[in-house]
């Protein structure tokens, strides 16, 4: 069974290689090959899962060592895998949802002449993400981590002929690199501290205590903060969130993949995986919850102001990942719920994005929700599946998001003390705002008047339901959006499943669980109601109103780019320009001047070429002098 772990990664990786190198011969069926390989990986995942279920909870982790990667004295990095309940959860999510997105893309990208390459990149994305979650050490995780960065770069910038897409792709990669720097430094710190960066020796496993227990709190805090920086990059958390909105330049299935099954979930994985470190570094944990709470509000506010359906959903992703990061920062109270929300979110967010793609498909690639309206009659399957995803994300009782989000809010209160109250209230406010902007998306898109506009070529839209390859994945994801949460919450099954890896404690909530549930539901209903009053009862203007300063700031992503531009880009460009000048005039000028002076040549260096022999002779002469002097000097010392 253990040998199946590398195959999880190898199947989609082989697909990527085949499709990239195979040439035009594969154009006709390459997309099906890629989809089949993704499905094959899912099959391997299921086999491993059933095998894992057959063992006692303490003996579920399995390992597979392939070969020694970078062997240098004292430094041991291996291509070696470890599959436990946490990584198993991710494997099923990545391959399951990933396969559905592949299937969807068969229809969505049917008319793109570079479809083969698109599927190669999708497969690469899966392979990198799978490597990330099955690695048994941080350096191999880093391999997958940056592989995810590469795949997202290639996919966000898939339509490279559009300057905006190329810019967005580069931005995503570079902002992520800042996070990657954090991961590099964390690994180096671990190496200095433990002489290793493998999971088991540092973090321990079921029944054993890892080396982390011996390290000082200061060191662990440093490692934790660096891991958090890394997580902020991949998971688009404040302050490294700015790439996520622009990443919507990629084809819509890519957004679904990035937001649901891969990439942004990596940060949550990293923090949860490193729980043994964070549990012993309370300051780092505080930083994690602050980042999570700030981001969940930040994303929610941005989501309210966007008219672009994909960007509204992107804001929502930030916000929902904020919930997960918040939960992961709570320690053993929250880890399992962070992952549970991650999985349910994987279903409904993938469904929502695929639904958005289906709407765009029917509307000549229009993304402005102010140009939608009344689509429910024209796209019934999209409407129903998107609607179920909507109900799930706002936490409508009984649907997936209800169970997972409610648990996180409960856990936030359970943190205890003032901190618990602040975090709990943030999470509640977030729930209300989520309901508000998602209801807005729903109303603007599927209800109300038709506000359809002709596209740039003057073609009026003729909305129609999408082909089967697109609707089937949407329907399956809708099932997940409805039932997954209930299944996970039933009897605490998900908690029991993950507990051997993440541990669990109940915390000390000032509020009874039922009170929290009622509060959450009330907040959600309030958000829906306000949204209905604003967008459901009166006609929606096609041109956005000016709006309050907050709205305008939120439309500009709360000025994140203006901030980065002022603080980083402009000073950076100025510094670069100054250095370019300095290098050619200052440094080079100095050396040239020196050369000219030493050589006794009055003109500038370029004249030397005319009298080259002369300068050569002069140099020789100078050299001889140096020689004689040194010989004398060396004898005397």
């Amino acid at each position: 069974m253990n040998s199946l772990i590398p195959l999880l990664v190898a199947a989609p990786l082989a697909g990527a290689a085949l499709l990239l190198l195979g040439g035009r011969a594969l154009d006709r069926f390459g997309h099906w090959l890629a989809t089949a390989l993704a499905a094959l990986s899912f099959g391997f995942g299921l086999a491993l899962f059933s095998d894992m279920l057959g063992r006692e909870a303490e003996h579920r982790a399995i390992t597979k060592h392939l070969f020694s990667w970078i062997p240098v004295n004292g430094f041991q990095a291996d291509i070696s895998f470890r599959l436990d309940q946490l990584s198993m959860t991710f494997v099923l999510l990545i391959t399951g949802v990933g396969t559905l997105i592949h299937l969807y893309s068969v229809g969505y990208m049917a008319h793109d002449e570079r479809r083969r390459r698109f599927f190669a990149y999708l497969n690469l994305f899966l392979a990198a993400m799978l490597l990330l979650v099955v690695a048994d050490n941080y350096l191999l995780l880093y391999f997958g981590w940056e592989g995810v960065g590469l795949a997202s770069y290639l996919l966000i910038g898939f339509w490279q002929h559009k300057p905006s897409a190329a810019t967005a792709a580069k931005k995503a990669f570079i902002v992520n690199r800042v996070g990657d720097m954090g991961l590099s430094i964390a690994i180096m710190l671990m190496f200095v501290e433990f002489g290793s960066f493998s999971f088991e020796p540092i973090l321990g496993s079921a029944g054993t205590v890892g080396g982390a227990a011996q390290a000082s709190e200061g060191k662990l805090t440093a490692i934790g903060l660096m891991l958090l920086l890394a997580a902020c990059g991949k998971s688009a958390q404040v302050p490294l969130q700015s790439w996520l909105g622009d990443a919507m330049e990629g084809p819509t299935p890519v957004s679904a993949l990035i937001h649901a099954a891969t990439m942004v979930t990596a940060g949550v994985y990293l923090i949860t995986r490193s729980s043994a470190i964070f549990d012993l570094a309370p300051d780092a944990q505080t930083a994690v919850v602050v980042v999570g709470a700030v981001t969940l509000l930040f994303g929610a506010i941005v989501g309210c102001a966007k008219d672009d359906i994909k960007k509204a959903l992107a804001g929502s992703t930030m916000s929902q990942i904020g919930y997960m990061v918040l939960a992961a920062g709570l320690g053993p109270i929250g880890y399992a719920f962070a992952i549970m929300h991650l999985v349910t979110h994987g279903f409904f967010k993938a469904g929502l994005f695929l639904g958005a793609g289906s709407v765009m498909h029917g509307m000549n690639d229009e993304v402005d929700m102010r140009h939608y309206g009344g689509l429910r009659k024209h796209m019934p399957v999209t409407f129903v599946t998107f609607g179920l995803g909507y109900l799930a994300i706002i936490g409508f009782p009984g649907l997936s998001g209800f169970f997972s989000k409610d648990k996180i809010i409960e856990a936030a209160f359970a943190k205890g003390g003032t901190e618990g109250w602040i975090l709990g209230l943030c999470a509640l406010v977030g729930a209300a705002v989520t309901a508000f902007y998602m209801t807005r998306v729903m109303l603007l898109t599927f209800f109300g008047e038709k506000r359809w506009q002709p596209d740039a070529d003057g073609n009026a839209p003729h909305p129609h339901e999408s082909p089967k390859t697109m609707t089937i994945p949407m329907v399956l994801l809708a099932f997940g959006s409805v039932f997954a949460g209930g299944l996970f919450a039933y009897n605490g099954s998900f908690l029991t499943w993950l507990e051997p890896v993440t541990g669990h404690s109940e915390g000390d909530s000032p509020l009874a669980p039922l009170v929290v549930t009622l509060l959450t539901t009330a907040c959600m209903l309030a958000g829906v109601a306000v949204s209905y009053l604003m967008y459901g009862r009166s006609a929606v203007p096609v041109v956005p109103p000016v709006g309050s300063p907050l709205t305008r700031a939120a439309r500009r992503d709360l000025l994140q780019d203006d901030f980065n531009h002022a603080v980083l880009v402009r000073p950076g460009s100025a510094l670069t320009a100054a250095l370019v000048y300095f290098d050619s005039r200052g440094l080079d000028g100095f050396v040239n001047g020196l050369a000219a002076t030493i050589g006794g040549i009055s003109g500038r260096l370029r004249r030397v070429q005319n009298g080259f022999v002369r300068s050569y002779a002069l140099s020789m002469f100078g050299g001889t002098l140096v020689l004689v002097a040194t010989t004398l000097l060396m004898r005397s010392v």
Partner: protein
């Protein structure tokens, strides 16, 4: 005593003479003969260098396959060769890159007809170009194999002459007299900088001899000298050791080049042909960093330790400075040159961190930088040859018309920014870790280099390859078969050595250990060591 090493050096040397003597290239057929002969010689050299690397036993003596012939007896100068793992690997790198460069430069030295009647500007251009490349190859390989300090010095200096002519005599075609003037300036600058470094080194070489002779050791033999220093038979006073160290180091730092001695490199790499630029940065400059490892650390261990922190500061400045300058470049080839300056900072940092990760990493870095920069630079050269401009702003949207060219250019860029899975990641991470364990602050500053590398590599790709197709590039052909044959092995090696670098590390590690024990350094021990259970070695 086998003569394998001598033969490996002699083949390209003899090939250079043979190539130069072939009949002038006034016809296509004659030029092709010349090129085929040169390429064949370089292929034989590659086989020989590979045999040397496989014959080398990592668990055996420090220097193997040794040969020694007397040369200038009165000064104790010998023609002594021998390999350690580091020298074997770098010589192999040279032997791999030379045929690739030749193939990439296939038409760079075709004489252009200057008059309609078919008279040529210089009918011996082709012979000259390929003979010079082989001459450089021979001299570089001697430098990697030399175990006599004076012998090393002679070839270290002598390789400047063919390089000077390669830089000054052959460049990108476009530009006319102004280009020729720039090229000439670049060549002279290259020569003067390196000559100055060499002269200082010569002084130090002689100084070392004088001191050794006073103590009864009239020899330039590296092994005799290092073991005499190790067991105290040869004693250098502190001042003398420092002065000699600086003399050697200065020469190597000019050649490597280390900030702030780098300004000759962008000129040289910018004005030379892409192939010559690869020879400069991937082959010749490596002799500088190699010599730091072998001579500075081996001969002057105490001074090396004394100066290490200062050198680390210079190299970390170089990492950041080179990367920032690369971001600000308008010229594709100069951008690659500044990126190389940043990378040389990493190599030198790895060497002087004096840890086994740092030095193994630095050695791998030399190899990986050679391969990946060759790929990046040569594809850039193919691009430039199609459009006749080195300016980034003259390109745009190339991926639409030449997707394979764009794809390989991206791979080159990704290797340069050290993406995991590609070879440069392995070496860069080792250097960073190796530095961090001893000097955390410097390690962290250097880590900023990975963000800047992403910036310059991806900016270059974005500006040249993406966006709307510019009219001037709209008819640009994709890579030809010859060009693919150049790029494919480099890309394959980059991936292979990124995933499975073990064959290299096995060769290099023992030599690094030997170097470190000469300096009497051991790696800092972890604070709370844990058993590396993940290491499957024992399983």
């Amino acid at each position: 005593m086998s003569a394998l090493l001598t033969v490996t050096c002699a083949v390209p040397a003899a090939g250079a003479v043979l190539t130069a003597a072939l009949p002038a290239g006034s016809t296509e057929a004659r030029r092709s003969t010349t090129k085929a002969v040169a390429l064949g010689v370089s292929a034989v050299t590659l086989v020989l260098a590979a045999v040397v690397a496989t014959r080398f036993d990592p668990h055996g003596a420090r220097y193997q396959l040794t040969e020694s012939y007397s040369w200038i007896r009165s000064f104790g100068i010998t023609f002594s060769l021998g390999v350690d793992g580091i020298g074997a690997v770098l010589a192999l790198l040279t032997a791999v890159l030379v045929p690739v460069v030749m193939l990439a430069s296939w038409h760079d030295a075709d004489p252009a007809p200057v008059a309609p009647d078919g008279t040529f500007e210089n009918r011996r251009r082709t012979q000259g170009f390929f003979a010079l490349i082989l001459a450089v190859e021979a001299m570089v390989i001697v430098s990697f194999y030399a175990t006599d300090v004076f012998l090393f010095y002679v070839f270290f200096e002598a390789m400047l002459i063919p390089m000077y002519f390669l830089i000054g005599g052959f460049g990108d075609r476009a530009g006319g007299p102004e280009a020729a003037r720039q090229r000439s300036y670049a060549a002279v600058k290259f020569l003067l900088y390196n000559l100055l470094g060499g002269l200082v080194m010569l002084a130090a070489v002689i100084g070392l001899y004088v001191i050794a002779q006073d103590q009864g050791l009239g020899t330039f033999d590296l092994q005799t000298l290092t073991s005499a220093i190790a067991d105290g038979k040869l004693q250098l006073t502190g001042t003398a050791e420092k002065a000699l160290f600086l003399g050697f180091f200065f020469a190597f730092a000019v050649k490597a080049p280390l900030w702030p001695l780098h300004t000759w490199l962008p000129n040289a790499m910018g004005e030379a042909t892409a192939g010559t630029a690869v020879l400069i940065t991937a082959v010749v400059d490596k002799v500088g960093t190699f010599a730091m490892l072998r001579f500075c650390l081996g001969l002057f261990p105490d001074a090396s330790k004394t100066f290490a922190p200062a050198i680390l500061v210079l190299s970390v400045i170089g990492i950041i400075y080179g990367a920032l300058l690369a971001v600000g470049q308008k010229d594709i080839k100069r951008l690659v040159a500044y990126a190389s300056i940043s990378h040389f900072g990493f190599i030198i940092m790895g060497i002087f961190a004096l840890t086994s990760q740092g030095q193994s990493g630095a050695t791998l870095y030399m190899v990986n930088h050679g391969i990946s920069t060759a790929a990046w630079m040569l594809v850039a050269g193919f691009l430039i040859s199609r459009r006749g401009s080195r300016l980034i702003a003259d390109y745009g949207g190339v991926q639409k018309v030449a997707p394979v060219l764009a794809g390989t250019f991206l791979v080159g860029g990704l290797a340069t920014l050290s993406l995991p899975g590609l070879a440069p990641f392995v070496s860069e991470f080792l250097v960073l870790v190796g530095t961090f364990t001893r000097y955390p602050a410097i390690g962290i500053v250097a880590t900023f280099g990975i963000v800047l590398a992403a910036l310059y590599a991806l900016l270059l790709y974005q500006r040249t390859m993406t966006g709307p197709v510019k009219a001037e590039v709209s008819t640009m052909p994709d890579l030809k078969v010859r060009e693919l044959a150049v790029v494919a092995p480099l890309v394959a090696l980059t991936i292979l050595l990124g995933v499975y670098p073990k064959p290299l590390t096995d060769l290099v590690n023992p030599s690094v250990n030997a170097t470190l024990s000469q300096v009497h350094e051991t790696d800092p021990a972890p604070a709370h060591p844990v058993a590396a259970t993940s290491g499957g070695e024992q399983k």
